[in-house]
């Protein structure tokens, strides 16, 4: 939860750390991200889409990552880039993971109503650009770009 | 109001023909948390939900509900359709959101003086 840093060329970067298993805090980082984006003057529709992407990404880190991970938000004049990174466990079959309703959520998560199997799909749906890179045993990176101007 | 009439008035799509179309629907129940529905829904109520998996049929049966309406254009799981048919549970669908279905059903029942 840091102050936006100016990384030059009009890019502002904010990094949020998300702990594995911390469902109580679920959504805390993404609601902060949304507030930060609004404060930076991002149009409401784009901020909302980014917030939804951030929420799904955050919940994925909480529910699935071995050791937590980070959400990096980079804001440029044209777009918002969200990067979700963790060190494990990695996704065995990304295509399968992107199938609606497919979920590997543990019981403690589904008991609380999470793990409906739509997270990655919702991230892609709300992004203008979407990329996922995962290696079992190593980790996962999800990159989403939301253009500021489009609603 | 009879189930049959409500199905007609709300323009519900029949997913599984079951239950008793002549039975009087005593009320409505909205909810997607199955354990809660089991605990609080009353026999004879028509259940409005977006849950689409097989357990919906079991809950409807155990709770003695008039039937289930899948809202928001949600399409039932094949397993739900099979189980509902096998067990004689009435399942319907509608493109309308739950809020609207609840509103319209509420109005129909209120007009009847329930």
């Amino acid at each position: 939860m840091s102050e936006p840093t100016d990384v030059g060329c009009g890019v502002r970067r904010i990094v949020h750390r998300v702990a594995a298993g911390d469902i109580e805090r679920g959504g805390a980082a993404s609601s902060e991200v949304t507030a930060e984006l609004r404060a930076l003057g991002v149009p409401a529709a784009a901020a909302r889409r980014a917030g939804i992407v951030a929420f799904e990404g955050e919940m994925n880190l909480i529910v699935y990552s071995t050791d937590g991970g980070t959400i990096t938000v980079e804001v440029t004049p044209d777009a918002i880039d969200l990067t979700f990174e963790d060190d494990g466990p990695g996704i065995e079959d990304v295509e399968l993971a992107m199938t609606p309703g497919y979920s590997t959520a543990p019981e403690w998560a589904t008991d609380l109503g999470f793990g409906a199997g739509m997270g990655l799909i919702n991230m892609r749906k709300n992004s203008d650009r979407f990329e996922i890179d995962s290696r079992p045993g190593e980790g996962t990176i999800v990159r989403c770009r939301i253009f500021r101007g489009r609603s | 109001m009879k189930l049959r009439e409500i199905v007609e008035r709300l323009e519900l799509i029949v997913v599984s023909d079951g239950g008793d179309p002549e039975a009087r629907v005593v009320g409505g129940h909205c909810g997607d948390l199955l354990s809660h529905v089991l605990a609080s829904a009353r026999p004879g109520e028509l259940w409005i939900t977006v849950q689409r998996h097989v357990n919906v049929a079991a809950v409807a049966q155990v709770a003695g509900l008039a039937g289930v309406v899948l809202a928001d254009g949600v399409r039932p799981d094949d397993a739900l359709v099979s189980k509902a048919s096998a067990d004689g549970v009435a399942v319907y669908a509608s493109p309308a959101p739950a809020f609207e279905l609840a509103g319209r059903l509420h109005r129909l029942l209120a007009a009847e003086g329930r």
Binding site: G101, G113, M118 | P95, F99
Partner: protein
Amino acid sequence: MKLTELAELIDGAILVGQDRADLEIDRAYAADLLSDVLALTDESTTLVTGLINPQVMRVADILNVVAVVFVRGKHPSDAMLDHARRAGIPVVMTSKTMFETCGRMYENGVRPCRNRPMSGAESVGSSTG
């Protein structure tokens, strides 16, 4: 209808937003599943829910929801109410059921808000995404 009228209609209490008496409540969406709430369309909507986990308020904030109505006598935590205050989202609580609450709201002119059809699931009836 106005926020205060809504509270009265459903025998509810305004937990946050007593100073927003004149807030217009014109559309509503009922949901018990977080995944459902996340798919709300971009309209000014009041969320009606029985979910009281902390994520609900955070999601309501992200989605710019107009107000939140908790049904079934579910009392949100102090932390949730604090978040609602900070985010400027009025909160009403009622002990009425979801069905009764939606029923009364609808019959008094609150219109439905359309959800986005769930990705991947074929929709029944017509839908324009």
